[in-house]
Symmetry: none
Subunit: 173 residues, 4 copies
């Protein structure tokens, strides 16, 4: 319950291969896959463009793992939020080895398929729990005064009370 510290990883990248889903004795699913994130930049010395791909080992638990097994595959672009965990194991020779993974738990973790139309474009959150929290409840927003149907709201962009952008002063950015 009480935590001391924040351990959060946010990735947007593409799967390097189809998720591999296994089931634990208690029936819970575990999915493993790798996600690539790439960045490119111009080398200021040489002036040439360089780029680099980083591969992340991802482990998904619970309902999200089942969803991963069903809906995402090699190449799928995903948004995911998890935490870093380094686990120790032993290689053939009995030597300690360490592997760092991005772990997505049902609580606090997120996995969302990106891309438009073609993809299912749904995110799956804390799926397994008692998602008991009515998200109504909460404060701000919608419900009532939605003069527009809930989905596909074509950009409200209010007319009247539009805040002007003052371009003529010294405000920072």
């Amino acid at each position: 319950m009480a935590n001391r510290g924040i351990n959060k990883v946010i990735l947007v990248g593409n799967l390097g291969q189809d998720p591999e889903v296994r089931y634990m004795p208690n029936g819970n699913a575990v999915a493993n896959f790798s996600v690539a994130t790439s960045e490119s930049w111009k080398d200021k010395q040489t002036g040439e463009t360089r780029d680099r791909t980083e591969w992340h080992r991802v482990v998904v638990f619970g309902k999200l793992a089942e969803i991963a097994g069903e809906y995402i595959k090699k190449g799928t672009q995903v948004y995911l939020e998890g935490q870093l965990q380094t686990r120790k194991w032993q290689d053939q020779s009995g030597q300690d080895r360490y592997t760092t993974e991005v772990v997505i738990n049902p609580i606090g973790g997120t996995l969302q398929i990106l891309g438009s139309r073609g993809n299912s474009n749904d995110s799956y959150d804390d799926g397994s729990q008692n998602w008991g929290q009515s998200a109504n409840n909460i404060s701000s927003a919608p419900a009532a005064s939605s003069r527009q149907p809930n989905k596909n709201a074509p950009a409200p962009q209010p007319k009247a009370p539009e805040p002007p952008m003052d371009f003529d002063d010294d405000i920072p950015f």
Copy 2:
């Protein structure tokens, strides 16, 4: 369960005043407070150091709200993770007004007290707890009725351009 989109706010800042905690008819707590984040930079033109403080309206629901009421106060440095919500309300003249808040729900939200020694330095997460209650049905009597006594709730209820928390209907935000 299935979401399309990510709506995430992460703040580290100090409370501008003690949290104001209220209880909804179903017993769920709601805490309100403001958090300041500051940044300073050197003005490239003038060379002088400038700085700016941003104030964020924060609303916390559920168990985290109770914890907020108990453990954090004016000046406390916190880490928090929530989501943006803009709610519509009407001012005295009946005009539509909008207020954007950072909402911290038991699921997916995080509130952590920072700083060592002096502070309790614990974070409170949705953890594994059953926080299944619906948080609908918010009661009437805005600033007033705290059915459960709570420290540090000076019920300031700001004056003029301040959006009221309407507890008297079920379409609150």
Copy 3:
């Protein structure tokens, strides 16, 4: 330079309309648009699925604004990272009004177009600077052996030499 506090917003959502790009007297670009994030959940009381869309006003400065004007449009799914800023303005009647926006600055801000193939799928970061850090792509992992079909692989938790995401091929995808 030195900041006290973190003020960070991360959104994944779709543009409600084409960005509106303007230029400041000094030639810097500013782009405005709205981004929708949606979430749906099952109401635990009624059992029905509900959903809600939140609209975020986004303001992009500098080179990212130009890129926004060029490459994204109504409906584009984006990842963005910025900070919250509430600015004060006055309506026709001279009353103070406040509007909260997600501001994406060239430094620290990020704007990335999501979606595969069809989209340009590039992110634009701190474009202006020299990213001087050498970055050779180390690939950890993946590829090869999916010994099991994607779903329902009924094999539990690997035993001993457990890191084994099969490092046996270095050509990710």
Copy 4:
């Protein structure tokens, strides 16, 4: 400039030891330290409280590294934002080993000291500074050569299964 993917780590935790700061041939600083994040939860089966500490290897480059060397030490609580990088190295027997680190670059990275009063409570960001230098060309002599004296650099260079920071080639991270 153009990136495809997001690779972001956010940690709040305490340093396990004083940062070890070294300088590259071009004068740029590199700081290494570990950060602990802890979480505790109630085991649903047994009902007992359990907790777990995760250790993260952090590498800081540039001005932030110098600041780290000066202002943070064993026990300091920090907020940091960086990216995951896994680098390959070879152990004594010539076997490939992989180590994953959280890398904080001047651009896009953040390091902030938390806690009030006792601590300096400032964050150091890429801010507006010119931090254009290339971080390539790292020199040889791993732990050793600190051309600029630096407090708190006990040059521990861990024993056995510890990944060396190879400063003698250009494929460091």
